[in-house]
Amino acid sequence: MRSAQHNSGMHVVVCVKQIPDPAEPGSLDPATKTLKRSGNIILDESDSYGVEMALQLVTSAGGGTVSLVSMAPGGETKGLRTALAMGASDAILVSDPVLNGTDALGTAKVLAAAIARKSPDLVLTATESSDGYTGTVPSQIAELLGLPSVTFARSIEINGQSVNVRRQTESGYDEVTCPLPAVVSVTAGVVEPRYPSFKGIMAAKSKPVEALTVADLGLSADEVGWAGGGQEIVEIAASEAREAGRVVEDEGEGYAEIVNFLENLKVI
């Protein structure tokens, strides 16, 4: 994927998602059965770690670029501006009404086609989005691009033409090495995402955001959206609610309530 268009340095693409603010209660649109995307759309916090990691890697490499790739049916850019204000150079936003209802594989097809236009050394993603959390997109992108991938990275170190990753496991972590270019998904919390500076916020306003449609990427409309998905939502139902029990204000004896409760269960 490396191409002659790059002059020098490290070129990283970060996949970012713009999601409804998780601080506001989410809901599903009963008509379309998709997550309502009204209200405040922000950069998924999970993606801010990838952006920060990319900026740090480019700095350690002595230069280069961080480009963003994102997909949104309605042309939203607010979340992208946040990542540009952190220091990313430019963005591709794939926006098209036909993207409504696109599933994880369709998303991966769109992102992979957009990433290919940038010929990066490294592609970073979050491990999963905070709204859809399928967690399959990173390896789907890698397979579509014919690249190796390392998921659940805690730390990333570039070593010449390869990348060394500490990969999270159930019982600890593995050291994994893989040649570049590669796709790496980054676990939340592994770096401290910087706050955009005032200067960064001002600069972000004039950074290039290339708007592309599905057709621009050479994909056909029936590969994405409702038509392209191999699945359909048939029911949305409230689950059996768990009842709230007794709530007690602690006046110094709250601990005794817990002791009694545990005693009654015979676990102590």
Partner: protein, 321 residues
């Protein structure tokens, strides 16, 4: 029985078949006449356990030379499908490797994946997955359509693992196709991070701490309480992200799903991301100073109070027993 044939991606750690695999086998044998497993390693190591839990055949890749499992295992499964046809459903556990293999296979076959599945509904040849969203308050049922291979990623603790009394499964060794560049990610070293006491996913009691603890050093109270109750210590994503405890402690959508008898949440407000991982607990006790905290809406016993006052007294009372 509605399906003829279901495949389950089997995983093992330290020579033991993982619980998530046994949970999936219990459901697979309920919905299908024949259940087979795919295993990345030597089939003989797992044939007895998988057979006991209902698998008739284990398709094994043999040693994969420390490659990450996604590309070679997905290629081996795709080759098996190309040679002998596809099963009615392929089940993966929501694990690090399960997601990698499922994602690779999905892209290779152009097949959809229904993720975060907590239950499966089979109706004739129709398969649908039930996924809890918004912290488990809503269930979304998604059905496969079209002719593509059906792949699901199943959440841990969705089904009860139970022996079927089956005999040792047949082992069939697979030829793993050459995967070229995609398969070049290799593990060079493996590190274990020991947690003290019982394992988080298996403990009868879990004591978890959140941002309400105020600072990293106060997590010691959670560990002390866990020790006294022979419980496993857990954590909310907030304090894992803040670096107070390792990721392996995290309970929630992104972390571990736990279903203990008692879950004691200390200074955890109850973000949906956390609740989805613990609301299956039989009893929930919560200590939080904000009486509006969402955790109280699902707690059997809620103490509105400061964890810095309640926890030391609780520790003292338990020490005195």
């Amino acid at each position: 029985m509605a399906l003829d044939n279901v495949w389950v991606f089997a995983e093992a750690a330290d020579g033991r078949v993982k619980t998530i695999t046994l949970e999936m086998l219990a459901k697979a044998r309920e919905i299908a006449d024949e259940v087979s497993c795919f295993y990345a390693g030597a089939g003989d190591d797992v044939a007895e356990t998988l057979g006991e839990h209902g698998a008739s055949t284990v398709f094994a890749t043999g040693d994969l030379d420390d490659a990450l499992l996604g590309p070679p295992v997905a290629a081996a499964i795709a080759a098996k499908i190309a040679a002998d046809g596809a099963p009615d459903l392929i089940m993966f556990g929501t694990t690090y490797d399960g997601r990698d293999v499922a994602g690779r296979l999905s892209a290779k076959l152009g097949a959809p994946v229904i993720t975060n599945v907590a239950d499966l509904i089979v109706n004739g040849e129709d398969v649908a997955g039930v996924e809890p969203v918004f912290g488990g308050s809503t269930n979304v049922t998604t059905r496969f359509k079209g002719e593509a291979v059906k792949i699901v990623l199943v959440r841990p603790k969705s089904f009860a693992a139970e022996s079927a009394g089956g005999s040792v499964a047949d082992v069939e060794d697979l030829d793993v196709p050459e995967v070229g560049n995609t398969g070049t990610a290799k593990v060079t070293a493996r590190f274990m991070e020991e947690t003290s006491g019982p394992k988080l996913e298996e403990a009868a009691i879990v004591v978890s701490g959140g941002r309400g603890l105020g600072e990293a050093a106060k997590y010691a109270m959670v560990e002390q309480l866990a020790k006294l109750l022979k419980a496993a210590p857990g954590a909310s994503r907030a304090i894992v992200d803040a670096g107070w405890v390792p990721y392996s402690y995290q309970v929630g959508q992104t972390g571990k799903v736990v279903k203990p008898t008692v879950y004691l949440a200390c200074g955890i407000s109850g973000a949906t991301q956390h609740m989805v991982g613990m609301k299956g607990a039989k009893y929930i006790i919560a200590i939080n100073k904000d009486k509006e905290a969402p955790i109280f809406s699902i707690a059997d016993l809620g103490i509105v109070g400061d964890v810095h006052k309640v926890m030391p007294k609780l520790i003292e009372a338990l020490q005195g027993r």
